[in-house]
């Protein structure tokens, strides 16, 4: 993980989707290039940061991982508010998880009013043999709601980096669109975003481990 620096713009991306579709695994693969067969279900949101360079420009992503199960749905707004991007992740072998995406999309469209870039993600393409949702179906759906579409496998590390590049490019395009429309407002926003970025993961990790209470 890299430390936040003061001069790259920060984008907030939230990972949403039904339980066990691979939200945490995608994040783990992207941040640490690992896959954990024994990982635990996520009961509390967490986030990670990573810098990447797109079109010669370095940006920082604040990626939020959330708990997927429907009972924790009401916590969603706390985490997706203020996001410039959302990945709606489903499991290509699980029809139910695809249906669940649609609820999220509806909610995000109403709440974020098109301010966020949406990327529908079909995960677990390594299990193509048991695929339930055809790529065309999902692509068509994504198009119909103005979202981007991508497929990947966190387990086999297929197209994970591409996911984040795709969404980042779209977020950057949207941001420059906004700044052309309203240069002042956008500038002010990005400045203040930089100032709240004070976390430095290396420091946090280096905190005295024994001293807890």
């Amino acid at each position: 993980m890299e430390a936040g620096t003061s001069d790259s713009p920060v984008f907030k991306v939230v990972l949403l989707g039904e339980g066990a579709v691979g939200k945490s695994s995608i994040l783990l693969r992207y941040i640490e290039n690992k896959f954990n067969n024994k990982h635990l279900s996520t009961t509390q949101a967490s986030f990670a940061t990573r810098k990447l360079t797109v079109n010669g420009k370095t940006v920082e992503l604040n990626i939020w991982d959330t708990a997927g199960q429907e009972k924790y749905h009401s916590l969603g707004p706390i985490y997706y508010r203020g996001s410039q991007g959302a990945m709606l992740i489903y499991d290509i072998t699980d029809t139910r998880s695809f249906e669940r995406i649609k609820n999220w999309v509806r909610e995000l469209q109403e709440v974020l009013k098109g301010t966020a870039t949406l990327l529908v993600v079909g995960n677990k393409v390594d299990l193509d043999a048991t695929r339930q949702i055809q790529r065309e179906t999902a692509e068509e759906y994504a198009k119909s709601v103005g979202a981007l579409y991508a497929e990947c496998s966190a387990k086999e590390n297929i197209d994970i980096d591409a996911l984040f590049e795709t969404i980042t490019k779209a977020m950057m395009a949207k941001a420059s669109e906004v700044s052309t429309l309203n240069r002042g407002a956008s500038l002010r926003r990005s400045t203040s975003r930089r100032t709240i970025q004070v976390s430095d993961d290396t420091d946090t990790e280096a905190a005295p481990k024994k001293k807890c209470c």
Partner: protein, 604 residues
């Protein structure tokens, strides 16, 4: 909180009343009914002597002021009282004006109906403190001059029943913070509505107040209604029409609000010596009579609280701790009960096992729960040797017990996190049926954490905030000004009772301690307070914001020293116990300080 107080005293009759505060020589300042006819310059105010009371009644807590004299004074100072006595009733005063009946000046209000009070509490001994109450319907009381003193005691008593907040904007104004308002503030805080609203208000006050205020009333109701479902709440959130945050305006809202009055001074934190030896075979046997009954359960639990249970004995003692075996039954009786439980378990297991695919196709909820269980079983404690890939049969046991529990409590069904509670039980019991019934006992303690409304979790987070406010006001203020006072970063701690924060050995020890309910049922929250208290400098010095706090707290997982946490939590408990009569009622309840009192009142 008064609601809670009432729930805990269900047997109180409506005519129950107990005066918890009584202060004589409180003078109501009243306007002479004949003031209009008095010559200009005459003092139109007179002072009527009476008692100010706080009274607990069966249906609420009341503030009352009752006159005790029929004679009003024209001044509060000693010197001229005798000279200018003024008769209210009976023989009219010399100037012959009509006066009202003194009892019409008495004041009586349920504290739930009070919005605020203004006060003056002079620093010098000479001045007389006064209070004046404002009801929610906009009416105000007389001004009550506390000539006999007692203002501070009054506030202390009052704080046992309600939360008081001094307005930061208006000097001498103190608000009664009721549950609805608090719930609203919480929901609003959760949604960042206040920021959006205030920032929009600052940029366009007129338009914002027209649109947003109108909306607020629409959204309050579903957010506050504990019975309204998530869809409604969600709709309410959606209706907020939030705008993109604007950091530059955010700072405007930071200093608006209320500060809590009268910081409670806690005694110094005591040093707790822990680390007694675990309850082992010898100790366990010393507690059993010849038939196997445990008579002195409390002493045994005290030992468990101090030192935990020897791992070899967990298999036996947990059955009692979780209510599967009964302390007061003989070995024979418990054995007989176990046999019955056995049959009962397999009866319920058969219910889901015999479900045909055809039946399942028309049983959506069952199908959903089953799928959730399937998903979670494969991601529960897979690093523990008991659940590794080679031990598939144990994963199947996990799944079978969860499926059977779903049939046992279908209303609750299955929720993510429940498997976390089950796995240590299975590891200890190594028996499907015993595990199931212990799990039933454990879920009885925590099932409310998994209810759809999340009300129990929210209540615990609220209680945690209230506790932290007393133990560490500095940190509380910091969290408040950094969007984190909702305490959501402690969600996981509470949801699965620290399961994700400790390794297997530690969590077993911690759970045993928690199951003793010593020193109180809210000990889990004190553990949370102890950890947060220890993290204060980390959080504040690093200037962590909402996201950094969440991340920092998440990262504490597996790095918390269990015994240090337990010692600190107990020490904090003793600090609070020392001031228990000054604690707000809702906090006293979380810490079980009110139990004796409640028992006493029920007896009446």
């Amino acid at each position: 909180m008064t609601e809670l107080a009432r729930q805990n005293r269900p047997n109180l009759r409506d005519d129950y009343q107990s005066i918890v505060y009584s202060q004589p020589e409180v003078f109501a300042e009243i306007v002479r009914s004949d003031s209009a006819s008095l010559p200009p310059g005459t003092n139109t105010a007179v002072f009527l002597n009476g008692n100010l009371l706080i009274i607990e009644k069966g249906h609420g807590v009341y503030i009352e002021w009752q006159p005790i004299e029929r004679t009003a004074r024209t001044s509060l100072s000693e010197n001229d009282t005798n000279a200018d006595d003024w008769v209210i009733e009976g023989s009219p005063p010399k100037d012959g004006t009509e006066v009202q009946n003194v009892s019409s000046f008495s004041f009586n209000a349920d504290i739930k109906d009070l919005r605020s009070y203004t006060y003056n509490d002079p620093v010098t001994k000479k001045g007389v403190a006064w209070v004046r109450f404002y009801c929610k319907d906009g009416t105000a009381s007389e001004t009550f001059h506390m000539k006999g003193g007692g203002y501070r005691d009054f506030v202390t008593q009052l704080q046992r029943y309600t939360t008081l907040s001094r307005s930061a904007k208006e000097r001498n104004l103190v608000m009664f913070v009721d549950e609805c308002t608090e719930a609203l503030e919480k929901s609003v805080g959760m949604l960042n509505l206040n920021k959006d609203f205030v920032s929009r208000f600052l940029s366009n006050p007129y338009a914002t107040s027209l649109t947003a205020l109108g909306k607020v009333t629409n959204l309050i109701t579903p957010l506050l209604d504990p019975d309204s479902n998530t869809d409604h709440q969600l709709q309410a959130m959606v209706n907020l029409d939030p705008v993109v945050e604007d950091e530059t305006l955010r700072s405007h809202t930071d200093n608006i609000g209320f500060e809590h009055i009268f910081e409670l001074q806690l005694p110094e934190r005591p040093v707790i010596e822990h680390g007694d030896t675990p309850v082992d075979e010898a100790v366990w046997h010393s507690f059993r009579d010849e038939a196997g009954r445990i008579t002195d359960v409390h002493s045994l639990k005290s030992l468990i609280f101090r030192g935990g249970i020897d791992p070899a004995l967990r298999k036996t003692i947990w059955k009692y701790m979780l209510g599967y075996y009964k302390w007061d039954l003989t070995d024979e009786e418990n054995k007989a009960a176990r046999k019955k439980h056995h049959e009962n378990y397999f009866r319920m297991k058969l219910q889901w096992m015999s479900m045909t695919p055809d039946q399942e196709a028309r049983f959506g909820l069952f199908r959903d729960y089953k799928a959730l269980i399937e998903k979670d079983v494969t991601r529960t404690d897979r690093t523990h040797p008991y659940f590794t890939r080679k031990e598939l049969k144990n994963l199947i046991l996990l799944k079978d017990v969860l499926n059977t529990y779903m049939m046992y409590n279908f209303d609750l069904g299955y929720v993510q996190g429940m498997s976390d509670f089950l796995s240590p039980l299975l590891v200890i019991m190594e028996d499907e049926v015993d595990t199931f019934w212990c799990f039933v006992g454990l879920m009885d303690r925590v099932h409310r954490n998994f209810e759809l409304s999340q009300a129990a979790i929210k209540q615990q987070l609220q209680d945690l905030k209230n506790l932290l406010e007393i133990v560490n006001p500095k940190l509380t203020n910091y969290l408040e000004s950094h969007d984190s006072i909702h305490m959501y970063f402690c969600f996981r701690w509470i949801l699965v009772a620290f399961k994700r924060e400790f390794g297997f050995d530690d969590i077993m020890h911690l759970w045993e301690v928690l199951w003793t309910d010593i020193p109180c049922k809210g000990f889990l929250l004190l553990c949370c307070v102890a950890i947060l208290d220890g993290q204060m400098n980390m959080i504040i010095e690093n200037k962590f914001g909402l996201t950094e706090i969440l991340k920092h707290i998440n990262n504490l997982s597996m790095k918390i020293n269990l015994h240090e946490m337990l010692r600190n939590a107990e020490a904090i408990y003793h600090q609070l116990a020392a001031v228990q009569d000054k604690l707000p009622r809702h906090i006293a309840e979380v810490l079980s300080f009110t139990i004796d009192e409640d028992e006493a009142t029920t007896v009446q």
